[in-house]
Amino acid sequence: MKYKDYYAILGLDRGAALADVKSAYRKLAHKYHPDVSKDPEGEARFKEVSEAYQTLKDPEKRAAYDQLGSHQAGQDFRPPPDWGAHFGNGGAGAPSFDDIDLADLFAGLSGGRQHGGRARADRPMAGRDYDVTAEIGLEDAYHGTQVDLHLGVPDYDHQGRIHHVERTFKARIPKGATSGQRLRLRGQGGKGRNGGPDDDLYLNIVLRPHALFRVDGHDLYLDLPLAPWEAALGATIEIPTLGGPVQLKVPPGTGAGKKMRLSKRGLPIPQGGEGDLYAVVHLAMPADVTKPEQALYKQLAEASTFDPRAHFSQEARHAG
């Protein structure tokens, strides 16, 4: 069994008062709680902090923990020989501690309460629901996909001791999944205790940002750069879509900022139909303009009467 230094995790001395334990936990929980924090390390950090707190806030568990002695964090160790007899595992002989996590050991202590603190150990109890986030690419959302989810779920051995087992789920994600959409896998979360119902696994879909397309609901947005002459003269342009390239006819005189709708080329909607794809025009200028090109621009400037800032002088007159 690997040793974890619960005091160090909470930033406390071994003699810290209960009030200090609480206050240290709350400070860290505010910082790392995954429902509140944007810290990518938040979830893992919160798990550690919460595990330390669950043990140190309970005088009996804290005493049991202190009896384990002080070791280096991560160091392999075994509890003293009579440890189990003092702390609730009496009569179980010398249990093997090799494959037990420290947290599970304390969760199994007599009088130990489950997370949430309500359930009695002998009552049929639902397992704990799991939330898993699956990040999928836009192409996968368009075609539908299958994802492998790995998670540690609790299981109970014949002595009623809790173990964490890694399970892999293959979940089929139907086409048209969008960010924030939720799936539920019935009975695939934590295993119920004492005959309680197995719980559900909740899958939260998040779309990975795409290099070309931006997503708003089931609509997609694509920046469409046009050369000045394409915008002026019109052009037929090949546009990438998730279903393959299509030809888009750009009318002459298309200005920057114009949104061109490609109907039903967005993400499929699970209830039926498809979102739209919007190509948003912007004018791209070549970084280097060659001499002959400059001459053509000059010719154009001389021939044209176009004033792109006519409204400036109008507005100025109104203001005056």
């Binding site: 890694e166 293959k170 089929r172 539920r184 909740y202 899958l203 912007h282």
Partner: protein, 113 residues
């Protein structure tokens, strides 16, 4: 865990659709809050029944996720129901602002880098 075979299950997930409704007892069972706490969240206005005003409240499946979050916050941050209601309200606001920002970014003429 050592020695345990890994399960490889083929699952066809059920889509939670917004038309599926739960009673308050079902919601309590799936979320770990008591019915009394759920009634209190309703009275604070952070949990809105799908059929307001009717004697037997029903809730959309979307509520499951909100209430599960509430349940985690209650347990992990040791909040009372009043503080919990405030936290949920503020988290809701952050979520809707983030959604609005994401939509505006998507529709922006030029990509905001």
């Amino acid at each position: 865990m050592q020695g345990e075979p890994h399960d490889a299950l083929w699952q066809d997930p059920q889509w939670n659709d917004q038309w599926q409704l739960l009673t308050i007892a079902e919601l309590a069972a799936s979320c770990g809050l008591s019915e009394a706490e759920l009634h209190e969240l309703v009275s604070y206005g952070v949990l809105v029944p799908a059929n307001p005003g009717e004697p037997q409240s029903t809730f959309s499946v979307e509520c499951v996720f909100r209430v599960r979050k509430a349940s985690r916050l209650r347990d992990d941050l040791e909040l009372d129901t009043h503080a919990l209601a405030l936290a949920i309200r503020l988290l809701d606001r952050i979520e809707s602002l983030e959604a609005e920002l994401a939509a505006l970014r998507a529709r922006a003429t030029y990509r905001l880098l």
